[in-house]
Amino acid sequence: MRGFTRLCFITTATTYLLIFVGGLVRVSGAGLGCPDWPKCFGRWIPPVSAQQLPPDMDPSQFNFTLAWIEYSNRLLGMTVGLLILATAVLAIKYYRKSPRILYPAWAAALLTAFQGWQGGEVVTSQLKPVIVSAHMGIALVIVSLMIYVTREAYYAEIGAVSTKSVPAGRSRVWIGVLWLVTIIQIVIGTQVRSSLEIADAANPLLTSAELIEKVKSINIVHALVGLAAAALAWKVLPGILRRVGELLPILRQAGFGAMMLVAIQVLLGLAMMLLGINPMIQVFHLWVASLLVGLLLLGYAELTSAKD
């Protein structure tokens, strides 16, 4: 089903856009732009002026820009939710007998429903760091499932199960290690960010350079693990691409993309060390990490279905 594969691809891309917008909500400080959930200031369409607020809400809480930034995350979230639901429903129609498509598609749909509810918890918890990070973690799982579904649908469509015999060797282990390290880096990175926020709340007048100094130890861990992972990626990925890239074109593209993203990540990380915390760099640093997770997963899946 050509249409199904395309729907999967569009859904995955939109989910990545949503992850970007979610990061933007966080760095622009719009997380509490709507203090209630699922409505915004008691309305389905956010108010445009403080006078539209219900009487029990404090008008000084209202900020038009922040309310709409937060609300656009919810609207795009709804869109992605409907797209994933459509994928899952169509999976029943076309791929009832393909559990490798059907199950992950439904897992993604159920997890997305949960994510919508959890997004409400993010707001009611007043942006408690653990809950905000969990929101992002669930998003990564959902997008990973969608990548898996898209890949399976693609192979089902072209009618080829890629069970070519390739000299993969330890390639799969290495890509798995890189994937795991990327996840660990994301976790440490969110810790860097919450430590920064805690330090900022305790010392509101520090410059961003002084704040970085405050969270030095965890920051150094993040930087060193990141540099080590980048070195590993640039060491093993070219070899893997040379050995098996010819036989697995998707792996080749994913591997090449991953090498580029790793380089971008190192540059963005260095930029923050040198220039201080900048919301623009922050949002891209996290988003590129989420893309990296997706590409590595794609490469891993390519190698799994190939035979040694």
């Binding site: 933007l24 622009s28 002026s49 403080a50 008008p59 922040l66 993309g257 949002v283 891209f284």
Partner: protein, 199 residues
């Protein structure tokens, strides 16, 4: 070869997409920062028809075009009103060189505060022009303006709110301040300066 071209093409489309996102993110983050710095609009003052101490009518139209600082007082008040009016008098003198700001004191005790009483009260604080006006109306109109228009609370007249309300040139409420707190009044002066620069 065509595979290489695909890789180059996806690399460039990624770069273009990243550039679009970069621009969008820059605009959104800038707007969010700006909106946080901006003085919020908290409400709009409704139409009202009161009488000034000179005997001439005074309403919303007379507020428009000026930056207004509004408070609610009564002349027999021995609690916070003398302090409120003396802080207002300080501001009245401080802004003497400017005709872009108007001070408005509204009586919450119209039964006792006649036009003459208000005139005497104004004289006591050295008010010599209409940069500071004193308004009077029936208690129902005052109550409605106080609660619904200015969103203040506290029983009239005895428990009336002591807050100063800042209203911009378009009749929009931009802030509430505490006259007993110097820091709050300094903040109001900063906001007044920013409002004066707004278009």
């Amino acid at each position: 070869m065509s595979e290489n071209r695909t890789i180059i093409r996806s690399f460039f489309s990624f770069m273009i997409m990243a550039l679009i996102l970069l621009t969008a993110a820059a605009v959104i983050i800038y707007q969010a920062e700006k909106s946080r710095r901006a003085i919020p609009v908290l409400g709009t003052v409704p139409e009202f028809a009161f009488v000034e101490r000179s005997g001439s009518p005074f309403g919303l139209d007379d507020m428009n075009g000026e930056i207004n600082v509004v408070d609610f007082i009564f002349t027999n008040c021995h609690g916070p009103c003398p302090l409120m009016s003396s802080v207002m008098a300080d501001l009245y003198r401080f802004y003497a060189p400017s005709d872009r700001i108007r001070f408005i004191s509204i009586s919450v005790d119209p039964l006792r505060d006649s036009i003459e009483t208000l005139r005497a009260y104004a004289d006591k604080f050295g008010v010599s022009d209409d940069r500071w006006v004193f308004l009077r109306a029936g208690i129902d109109s005052v109550l409605s303006l106080y609660e619904k228009g200015f969103m203040l609370s506290g029983d009239l007249p005895g428990e009336h709110s002591t807050r100063f309300v800042l209203v911009d040139r378009n009749g929009r409420i931009r802030g509430y301040y505490h006259p007993e707190d110097d820091a709050s009044i300094e903040l109001m002066k900063t906001h007044i300066r920013l409002l004066a620069k707004e278009q």
